[in-house]
């Protein structure tokens, strides 16, 4: 499963708690109230555990977490930087 699918599944199952939720990859997760302070922290913990990376504090910013596309883009950039 690719990163987007893994993250989408997690957000739908564990955060929204509705498997059938129509989550678009460009939806503003923060603006829609899907991600609040606690859920962002949960998501960061999930990302670190699932993808085996440490998300620096300075990277936990809206620009990197506001949508599925943004999160995947951040993770892809993180992976490239680590090579």
């Amino acid at each position: 499963m690719d990163k987007k699918a893994i993250l989408s599944d997690y957000i739908k199952n564990e955060i929204i708690r509705n498997r059938n939720f129509a989550l678009d990859e460009n939806d503003d997760l923060v603006g829609a109230g899907i991600l609040d302070s606690l859920r962002i922290l949960q998501l960061v913990a999930f990302i670190e555990k699932t993808f085996g990376i440490g998300v620096p504090d300075e990277a936990v910013i809206y620009d990197n977490f506001h949508s599925l596309t943004a999160i995947v883009s951040y993770l892809d950039g993180f992976s490239k930087d680590s090579r």
Binding site: S37, V55, V60
Partner: protein
């Protein structure tokens, strides 16, 4: 540091539940003595006893609770703003909606339970006032308070970014004056202090001025995280030591206020040492970024569920304590049994309820009920 905020929230919600447990402990120890002692009026003989000081120490240790929640909320306003000039109103409304839904549902459920179980009914105006001021339970003030902060965020953000030192000084000074007012009112009574200090002392908890400093502090740290990380790391042991020292001094401070007041009993209020302790605790906790955390997953899980626990625990505790009062009054005189029972239901019942909702077809309504 950021990932520790979820753990910190977990600690804070444990503190909230513990605080309300000890409050019931004090109610049983004093106001409810006629139910288990051969007295016709409440007696205060247990002041100064071992259970009494045990409760006072716990109350001091857990003073961090609500300020910590506000700090974390303020931090995430900074997160949500990011590099943009300000928050979009759509984002503010999204956050307010996620608080309002569970708050409204539980307010109505509680009013309904009062009517069905106790025959209590209020006027429409009474319900509206309770809803707007968070007066339905002793914990609900937090929701109108936090909503005010979100609404004010666009104004606060402008200063939190560029004039944060002035902003923290002003809100910190206000917090200090508020707490001086509270202390004066407790010690001398409302009629014997200057009117302005009485105004500060009487400020309702739901009014945004009451705890603005903590929300602002979180926002400032969020906007200046790199500088604060260096600062917190450098002075972490100083903050740790301040926090530790504040515990016994906070207990002594409260006892001094209590004895000076000449009253039989005082309801707990936040004092100056409580604020110093809270700030030192938060800073020390965030400063020790590499220290391992006990029961990390479990407490983070509590942190993630903190709003749901917060909004539901007090009513469960309320009914259980009153059921014990009615049906098993001798238990009120055995604090070592009474308090663990209240704690267990206060924490356990919300968690069981949240688990049950999550595992059933009600799952899609989870966020409406628990945030």
């Amino acid at each position: 540091m950021v990932r520790r905020l979820l753990y910190l929230n977990g600690i804070a919600i444990l503190c909230v539940v513990l605080f309300h447990t000890t409050s019931w402990g004090l109610t049983a120890m004093f106001a409810w003595t006629p139910r288990y002692l051969p007295v016709s009026e409440p007696v205060f003989d247990q002041t100064g006893s071992l259970p009494y000081y045990w409760i006072r120490i716990i109350e001091q240790v857990i003073a961090i609770a609500v300020p910590t929640f506000l700090f974390v909320s303020g931090y995430f306003v900074a997160f949500t703003t990011g590099h943009r000039d300000n928050l979009a109103w759509g984002q503010i409304w999204g956050r307010i909606k996620s608080l309002l839904m569970p708050y409204t549902i539980w307010s109505v459920l509680i009013w309904l339970s009062w009517f069905l179980l106790l025959g209590d009914i209020s006027s429409f105006r009474g319900y509206v006032t309770d809803f707007l001021t968070g007066n339905t339970t002793i914990t609900f003030y937090y929701v109108p308070l936090l909503i005010q902060y979100y609404v004010l965020s666009p104004l606060i953000i402008r200063f939190a970014r560029d004039k944060w030192a002035i902003l923290l000084t002003i809100t910190g000074l206000f917090q200090l004056i508020l707490q001086i007012g509270i202390m004066l009112e407790l010690m001398y009574g409302l009629d014997n202090i200057p009117k302005i200090m009485g105004w500060f002392a009487q400020m309702p908890k739901w009014v945004f001025l009451a705890r603005l400093f903590w929300f602002v502090l979180g926002m400032v740290v969020g906007f200046h995280i790199t500088q604060f990380k260096q600062f917190l790391s450098r002075f972490k042991w100083m903050f740790f030591n301040i926090a530790v020292v504040c515990i016994p001094f906070g207990v002594l401070e409260w006892e001094a206020i209590f004895h000076f007041s000449g009253r039989d009993y005082l309801n707990m209020r936040e004092t100056i040492i409580d604020s110093i302790y809270t700030m030192a605790f938060i800073f020390a906790f965030l400063g020790f970024t590499d220290s391992p955390l006990l029961w990390y997953s479990r407490i983070c899980d509590l942190g993630a569920k903190s709003f749901g626990i917060y909004i539901t625990h007090i009513t469960v505790m309320d009914y259980v304590a009153k059921a014990i009062y009615r049906f098993v009054p001798w238990l009120l005189g055995v604090q070592i049994l009474f308090q663990p029972i209240i704690l267990l239901v206060g924490l356990g019942a919300p968690l069981v309820l949240m688990y049950a909702v999550e595992k059933t077809s009600m799952r899609k309504y989870y966020s409406y009920l628990f945030g």
